[in-house]
Amino acid sequence: MDKHSIAMKRRSFLLGASGALGLAFTKTAWAQTSSGSGGTLRVAVTKPAGDLNPHKFAGLWAAQDLMFEPLMNYGPGGEIMPCLATAWLLEDAGKTLKLTLRENVVFQDGAPFDASAVKWNFERWIGLDSSSWMNSSRLYKSLEIVDDHHVTLHFSEPPLGLLQELTYIRPVRFLSPKSVAADGAYVAPVGTGPWKQKLASESGSVFERFDAYWSEKPGFATLELKVLPDSRNRMAALRAGDIDLIGGAYVSPLTATEAQTLKSAGVDVSIKPGTTTLVLGFNHDHVAALKDPLVRKAINVGIDRAAISQVLYRGYAEVAANLFATGVPMSGTRYDVPAMDPQAARDLLEKAGWTGDGIRTKDGIPLAMEIIVSEEQIPGSRSVAEVLQSEFREIGIDLSIRSVDHASRHSDIPARKYDLAFFLTYDAPYDPFGSVVGMFLSTYDNGVDGKLFMDADNLDPLVAAAMSASEADMQSSLQKVYDWLHENAAIAPLLYVPSIWAHSERVAGFKGPATEYDLPYEHITLVG
């Protein structure tokens, strides 16, 4: 054996050994990173949990929902269910709310949940300017402690949707009065919920089960929120087993295309009808042609909703004719979804006086309008706008598309600098009142969310009547609003946005949440 061959052998051995060592290192390290997940549900979120003060509006909904509980829960189909209040009674035509509080409930720091804790919490938000968008806050008069487990709330007028408001995540949920600084400043997130925060950083949060929780405890010991801003990475992490749960509109959104990709890769995907509606809004203040109901009707019948459902949601979204899906309480009588009929649309435009071949004109003015789209608001909306552009051209309307980012949309929508735009209704538990009042009542400042349609003379009285209707007349009053919108083609509901979630094979018993603001961990058990 010559010297050279010995050198070669030594080199080969070293190469082989280092390779084997490298592989062993990677396997061991990998085992270390993935071990210890037994009993831990890992959920992907798009951003850090942030400031979880339940009386502020900055934190991640899902994280707040884990720790803080309301008086009532919003159940499937809008059913109001007991939580920290076991019973309630509306008296004095809705101006008085008598609450019976749950006994033997403690905050995670040991402080008792009682009438004084309720009063202390209410005083941190009710009646303040920052909460004036809620009827309960705007119309609040006083709170009276009857005894340790009974409180009575008084309002100047009956607040519309009061019980629904008390199910919101913020600012109505309960923080431990013991957890704040001497001056009352918020210090740490301490609630009565089944999870307490153990760690929080920019890369995620860790929650551990609260053993003194008053109700059924979660089926696993730890819940981790992992910040994964990139949707492709979230999907890969789920497939690789690094994450157990993704989805939801506000947790870690999953598009229908992504859901389909995961489904075809064998991942468990849950797609259910949601409670948000995608609506095309008309700004008749900006385009005179849109003042004419015939033009709006023409647009309504000139749209192929099934194609939009296909483009945005791979056909998973149900096409819409109503403002609200059936999952929203008091969503009203169902209307027939208009089938796309270009000839009918052209006839309507002719009737409205818009004539000619190609792009129609009236008094020498072409029928042209612009749609504003933000991919950040609705991923894929640019493609939908392109579908509309081609369909509008078919009936003689020139539609141009202006793509903007989130911040620009937030400037242009309240300033009403658009002709057409996509809107999303507020979703449960805020609807139907949130969207009906916020998006249609012209006297109500709806901020950056803007208005879907305004008609001070005809629509406002109907909305006002619905707002002041008694519980018994509420449904019929809202129906009048829906009917007016439908008969005047004031809006073009396109589809009901589905609720999409995907989970790993470790997750058993998954059930979709009642609202997209909740984190659906309750029914989950971990296997393997």
Partner: protein, 311 residues
């Protein structure tokens, strides 16, 4: 030499100032009103009065030159202001995140350095033979593939299919491998061509013939004689590529859920968080200028001709 370096430092400072003015102008001229976004954080429904109040609070109503001078004065003292979105001190956020981005760029640069030298030498050593063609092909494919796609492929192959590396996180060396490879692959490919072409040119010089006549092997000549001749060119190209990696960090950090400066910058841009965007841009520009300055000095040290010419 020292006077040359001090001259370059002054030029760099001037460049930094001009770049900060340009960045400030671009950031404030972007459409959208940050006051609306901030007001939205305070209450879900915001009125026009709320927006006006926020605009007044954060000084959006002040004249632009005043806003710029105020920001620059604070930044020089290390005070980058408060994030409009999170309310956190931007300087503290940057401090926490700088080491993450530095790890990404340093690892990517090391990968690019080793990868490019390996591919370049293989190509030069086996010029116009199969290993050369393979190295060239690999470099061409890698150089033409965008980083986000490379990252997705690597994650799919090594995390989803083989389960060797984690899909995300900054949890130690094992989790650094894929981000380093993703960010370093493109520069490695570009630089390998610099090495390969440089070595080929150097191997055509007369001193190579002399070395061969002395009985040295091709590999010995490549390492000992040709390599030192391509160092200045290589350093210049490496400097440019490392500077460009900052852009890569903006894409790659969110992809692997690394909470670095690139990710902070991206979040800042989306939210119109001027304080964050300005501070990040200033960091990026400073980094770029420092890298170029280092490369210039390095080139002067390694190339006697350049040193004489400049002095």
């Amino acid at each position: 030499m020292i006077s040359l370096i001090s001259k370059r430092i002054w030029q760099s400072l001037l460049l930094l100032f001009l770049a900060s003015v340009l960045c400030f102008s671009l950031v404030i001229s972007a459409p959208g009103n940050v006051a609306i976004l901030i007001a939205e954080l305070r209450s879900p429904i915001v009125s026009k009065e709320d927006i006006a109040k926020v605009a007044e609070e954060i000084g959006l109503n002040k004249p632009l030159p005043l806003r710029y001078v105020g920001w620059l004065g604070d930044a020089i003292q290390g005070n980058f202001g408060i994030s409009y979105k999170t309310g956190e001190d931007v300087g503290e956020s940057l401090e926490k995140r700088l080491s993450i981005t530095a790890t990404l760029i340093a690892g990517g640069a090391a990968f690019a350095l080793m990868g490019s030298l390996f591919l370049g030498f293989v190509g030069a050593l086996y010029a116009h033979r199969m290993p050369d063609y393979l190295a060239r092909g690999a470099a061409l494919i890698s150089a033409s593939t965008p980083s986000f796609f490379v990252g997705a492929l690597l994650v799919y192959a090594f995390s989803v299919a083989l389960r060797i590396f984690p899909t995300f996180g900054y949890g130690g060396p094992i989790s650094w491998v894929l981000p380093w490879t993703t960010i370093g692959l493109l520069p490695a490919s570009v630089l390998s061509r610099v090495v390969r072409v440089g070595l080929e040119e150097a191997m055509a010089r007369p001193y190579v013939l002399t070395a061969m006549s002395k009985g040295l092997t091709r590999s010995q000549i490549l390492f000992r004689d040709a390599m030192p001749n391509i160092i200045p060119t290589y350093l210049s190209a490496l400097g440019t590529q490392v500077g460009v990696m900052v852009v890569g960090a903006v894409v790659i950090e969110p992809m692997f859920a690394w909470q670095g400066v690139g990710e902070l910058f991206l979040t800042g841009v989306r939210f119109r968080d001027f304080m964050v965007v300005q501070a990040c841009l200033l960091i990026f520009i400073t980094f770029f200028i420092v890298v170029n300055l280092t490369v210039d000095v390095g080139m002067m040290l390694t190339d006697p001709k350049l040193r004489r010419q400049r002095s």
